[in-house]
Symmetry: C2
Subunit: 76 residues, 2 copies
Amino acid sequence: MKLREIVARNLRRLRHAKNLSQEELADRAGINRNYVGMLEREENAATVDMLEKLAEVLEADPIAFFEPSDTPHPQA
Amino acid sequence: MKLREIVARNLRRLRHAKNLSQEELADRAGINRNYVGMLEREENAATVDMLEKLAEVLEADPIAFFEPSDTPHPQA
């Protein structure tokens, strides 16, 4: 699995765990509203700075974005 | 510690473990020669795609870039 895909899945999982929409998460992280969707669709490669901001809002360790997932078909 | 700094330290540590110069690592990863130095000096925020390439050359799990370090003053 490509690293972008791993990050996308973990981002979606962590966002759902906080019951946030993509737009809500983006607003709280102070980043562009389209950016979260682009990361979750693997259209963009997240930077370390962006992951740091997202992790802070999601109250997660940035390492959590890189943990391999066992779920083959996560829901969008 | 900022995430950029954690990534910079781990990149340098993993590169030294492989006895590679910044230029050698960049060449093997197929990325710009200046890029590795910029990451290690925290002048640039690495993207997930770049970390994936670097991890492959360094034979490391990408998670290794995000592990907190206990060494306060790593050597350049």
